[in-house]
């Protein structure tokens, strides 16, 4: 237990401000030399975001992710946005296990023909209002897979898409920015 506690204390809080775009690669992550600006300290940003969330949805934002046929590259970066550096949950945005709990559907992949029905059903199971974000080049337009006998191409060929986030895979910063933009545009 002592080892665990000392590790926590030595590591400190690493979360970076959410306004930081494409944060410069930094090596000294666990060391003292690094200046960290925990997200929670950036009060204005978080306040503004929370207000928009409340205005739009009346609560925190819940995301349901569906892989509609991706190569699993985008999934790696979606997982990264919950690591201590990006700490998406610190903004009141969290991933949920059921579409019935979700406000936003985050979809990766080209839509494979074999996932088409499951994707539609997931979307139908979500309560209103609902947002759809298409993630990655494949989600945006089908990417390298395009349309073929087994792929329907981009997410918009199956669902109404509110926001696309390009990249192969998009960086964690790009994903977070895209999610925030989706919320902002819904609020207007």
């Amino acid at each position: 237990m002592l080892t665990i506690l000392s590790r926590m204390i030595r590591t400190g809080i690493l979360t970076e401000p959410c306004t930081e775009q494409n944060s410069a690669p930094s090596l000294g992550s666990g060391s003292q030399s690094r200046t960290v600006a925990p997200l929670n300290e950036d009060a204005a940003t978080v306040d503004a975001l929370q207000r928009e969330l409340w205005k739009t949805l009346g609560r925190a934002l819940c995301i349901r992710h569906v892989d509609a046929g991706s190569c699993n590259g985008c999934e790696l970066e979606i997982n990264a946005i919950n690591n201590p550096y990006y700490n998406l949950e610190g903004m009141g945005i969290k991933f949920v296990a059921s579409p019935r709990h979700a406000d936003l559907l985050l979809v990766t992949g080209p839509v494979s023909v074999n996932m088409e029905e499951a994707l539609r059903r997931t979307y139908d199971a979500m309560p209103h209002p609902k947002l759809v974000v298409a993630l990655g080049d494949c989600g945006a337009c089908g990417g390298i897979f395009g349309k073929n006998y087994a792929s329907r191409g981009g997410i918009s060929s199956i669902l109404p898409v509110d926001q696309t986030i390009a990249g192969c895979p998009p960086s964690p910063t790009a994903i977070i920015t895209g999610i925030l933009q989706a919320i902002a545009s819904a609020a207007q």
């Binding site: 080892t3 590790r7 090596l27 569906v66 892989d67 997982n79 494979s112 996932m115």
Partner: protein
């Protein structure tokens, strides 16, 4: 080359050398020879790697079925030409090599070539074809238009029913609760205990094999990198190595070493992710926090040293895309030192944590006997005492100069798979340091030997690369003028998915996420 351990004298003598990154032979067999060879190969404990087919009706009025095996001497590719094009079939491998069963179903879905079994019925259910294209149409046939779209006509899929007092089913997926790929799991349980698990995969089938045929030889490495994004370096290297073998292109030494560095970085990043997720699935969130922090550090170093967090387009035909600067050397060395130190500390925490070890030990046991019999691959095999690693058994350049240490465990449970990941990671760090220390000067790319001027760039070649999950294979057949006639990609998840069905038996349903994560198999890599 000479495959002396094979009884079949004809096979050994008729085998021709095949372009590859390791020693490889290719033999064309009659139906009877094919059947005999399968038995012989089982008898000498050959490792079954992959099965695929091709439509050559346009060329010589036949279909072909191919199987690759790994032997002590190298890789052996068997080919059987099927001249009955009305009802094409070949003798099934599944009795001798159970891992072939799903591959045979996939070959049928894509090519309409059936496996013929004796004495028992083969599984007629579609594997990659759910209902997305009409029955009786086969995407990999030359006559099939790959761009055509079809309406989905829902079809029933019959899972094996378990009957008895108190038995009920739990259906999970294809959409799962977390951020993972889609697949369907059908559990038959009594109370919490799992009596049977049946997987249904194929949901992410994107028609990649057909797509390869529409790409040129010098652009298809980008598709190879996207067969399974977490194994991008392994697959793109395998593709490029196959192409380079066929075109007799010698890659500069510096490029080979940089490829190996990228491959080991991919291995380390995936192991860091898995070790964190395994802690988390056993209720130890601190593990996830710290390992995901270390993984992020490594990805940022990748971005600085190689130009991208994930190295999807790093390996290119003839070499690598970005050179490593002198300043990046220090960056990498510091990263390796820091990782070694931090991971050792976290390992001590994992090893000493009673609650964590209680969940890890005895969970999801795959016995060494079963792993051997069913043909387990890579990391999963090595956690069950099956000692195969291409970097050790058939080291290709630059691994031939690295003396990779084989990492194994015999426990076969989640704890063993955790230990293999830790040991693998430390061995990878050692390899990375050695690669840096011995990095040759020189160019990072060379021109491909002209692939379309004469016969040089035409024909079949294979390459196998030990990715972080295990051996990945690309079998490439080049056509004229820089075209691709056929490209078959194989992910070790094909062999390991069926083993998960065994590992879960007798465990409780709530342990499935942990056991599944300890396998961490690719859906996209298997679905194609």
């Amino acid at each position: 080359m000479n495959f002396e351990s094979l009884n079949s004298a004809k096979l050994a003598s008729s085998g021709k050398t095949l372009p590859s990154n390791i020693a490889a032979a290719h033999a064309i067999l009659t139906r009877a020879e094919w059947q005999r060879a399968i038995g012989d190969l089982r008898a000498i404990d050959a490792v079954f790697l992959s099965l695929w087919g091709a439509d050559d009706c346009d060329r010589d009025g036949s279909f072909s079925i191919y199987a690759t095996f790994l032997l002590a001497e190298g890789a052996l590719v068997l080919q059987h030409k099927i001249t009955d094009v009305i009802a094409p079939s070949y003798p099934s491998l599944a009795r001798a090599f159970p891992a072939a069963a799903r591959m045979e179903r996939a070959v049928y879905d894509l090519l309409g070539i059936a496996s013929a079994t004796v004495g028992h019925e083969s599984d007629q259910r579609g594997w990659l074809r759910h209902a997305g294209w009409p029955e009786g149409l086969y995407p990999l046939r030359r006559s099939f238009d790959g761009a055509q779209q079809y309406l989905v006509q829902s079809e029933p899929y019959e899972f094996v029913q378990v009957e008895g007092n108190g038995v009920h089913e739990i259906a999970v997926g294809p959409v799962h609760a977390g951020t993972i790929e889609p697949g369907h799991f059908r559990f038959s349980v009594v109370g919490e205990k799992v009596l049977r698990l049946e997987e249904r995969l194929g949901y992410t089938h994107k028609g990649t094999a057909k797509l390869f045929e529409s790409l040129t030889q010098t652009e298809a490495h980008r598709l190879a990198a996207r067969l399974s994004g977490d194994s991008a370096v392994a697959f793109s290297w395998a593709y490029c190595a196959a192409l380079e073998a066929i075109t007799a292109t010698a890659v500069p030494l510096r490029a080979s070493s940089l490829r190996a560095l990228a491959l080991e970085h991919e291995r380390i990043a995936n192991h860091l992710g898995d070790l964190g997720a395994l802690g988390n699935d056993a209720g130890f969130a601190l593990g996830l926090t710290h390992f995901s922090r270390l993984k992020e550090d490594l990805l940022r170093v990748n971005a600085e040293a190689f130009g991208a967090r994930y190295l999807l387009d790093y390996v290119v035909p003839g070499g690598v895309a970005v050179d490593l600067s002198k300043s990046a050397h220090h960056l990498l060395e510091e990263q390796y030192r820091k990782l070694a130190h931090e991971v050792a500390g976290l390992r001590a925490i994992y090893d000493d944590h009673g609650g964590l070890q209680d969940r890890f030990r005895e969970a999801g046991r795959l016995t060494p006997e079963l792993a051997q019999d069913l043909g387990a691959m890579g990391l999963i095999a090595r956690a069950s005492g099956v000692a195969h690693d291409l970097r050790v058994d058939h080291p290709w350049t630059p691994y031939d100069g690295l003396a990779t240490q084989l990492v194994t465990q015999s426990g076969g449970d989640v704890a063993a798979r955790v230990q293999v990941r830790f040991d693998d990671l430390f061995e990878s760090l050692r390899l990375c340091q050695t690669l840096l220390d011995t990095l040759a000067d020189g160019p990072i790319q060379t021109e491909l030997a002209d692939a379309d001027s004469d016969q040089l760039g035409i024909g079949l070649g294979i390459a196998v690369i030990e990715g972080w999950r295990g051996p990945v294979m690309i079998a490439l057949e080049c056509g004229a003028h820089g075209s691709i006639r056929r490209c078959h990609a194989h992910d070790p998840s094909w062999q390991n998915w069926p083993l998960l069905e065994y590992a879960i038996l007798g465990n409780i349903v709530p342990d499935f996420p942990l056991i599944n994560k300890s396998f961490n198999l690719s859906y996209s890599g298997q679905d194609g």
